[in-house]
């Protein structure tokens, strides 16, 4: 493969036709997969599922505005993690891992969002939507 001499950074950013074709294929594949996943997990009431490794520890509905927050402590490989589920979504309030990436990632509320503490093997996934839950109450 020969490197083409580039005049400036803008020329390099354009890429070749094969690069652009590859980008198009990649984006179409990713967006299609994303839409399929969203249609699968956005149905139903808003729920937060908490896993430790392969085990589903608990599944809680995400509280609506004005409802009390849910606070719980789950035991991971390294120690206990404190989890808060409130009207803003779910978050890990404290964890025994050294990096604290899971704590710093904050609250997540959208269907498909995940919060993972890899060293402690704790995973929180969010599915469903608040609108779906409201519909269910009307019924």
């Amino acid at each position: 493969m020969q490197l083409r001499p580039r005049q400036n950074m803008f020329d390099a950013l354009k890429g070749r036709w094969a690069d652009r074709l590859l980008l198009l294929i990649a984006l179409i594949s990713i967006v299609s997969t994303w839409l399929i996943i969203q249609s699968h997990i956005a149905a139903g009431p808003a729920m937060a599922e908490i896993y430790h490794g392969q085990t589903l520890l608990a599944s809680y509905p995400v509280p609506q505005q004005g409802e009390p927050a849910i606070t719980l402590q789950v035991e991971g490989d390294l120690g206990p993690s404190d989890i808060i589920i409130d009207e803003h979504g779910a978050r890990i309030a404290s964890a025994p891992c050294s990096s604290q990436h899971c704590v710093l990632s904050g609250s997540h509320a959208h269907a498909g969002d995940i919060i993972a503490c890899v060293p402690n093997k704790i995973l929180i996934t969010l599915r469903g939507s608040a609108e779906s839950r409201f519909d269910a109450i009307v019924e």
Binding site: D19, I30, W34
Partner: protein, 188 residues
Amino acid sequence: MRLLNNEHSPAISMTALARPPLPELKTKARWLALLMLAIGLHVFEASLPSLGPWFKPGLANLVTLIALAMMGTRAAVSLSIARIIVGSFFIGTLFTPTFIIAMAGGLSATIVMVLAWRWIPGLSLVGISLLGALAHMLAQFVTVEALFIQQATLYYALPPLLILSCISGWINGALAEYICARLAHERI
């Protein structure tokens, strides 16, 4: 390099040192310079505020791509492995889950870039970098799912991160193409 004993003199003669040829020394020096740069970028990226869970701009991978384009497959693979080991040592994650995930991502990206460089005609460094960035992100998720959190629900978060990988891979590839062309022009 080998030291030769001089039977007529008890002291080791400095002139008896078998010196490697200059082109070999230049190649080693260039590889080491790229390694230092890659380690510096690895540490710099670790100190950046998180742009999202598991997402980094992949600047250290840019150096692997430059090594691949300028020095070949062996230099790129060895640079990638050395960068992750030494870089993880400096940021304090050596032999932790973070290290395993980084090694899986970095090695997968390098292998995919090497294969694309050799076997896919028409792609520039931009396309090769794009494939490397996607392989890096996919390998990270597969490693976490296989070794740490055995939940398929983990993959729910993958598509938006793959889109970010496309953007960072494209920009890094353009940077690599520009830098390689400049270095070739300057004959460094």
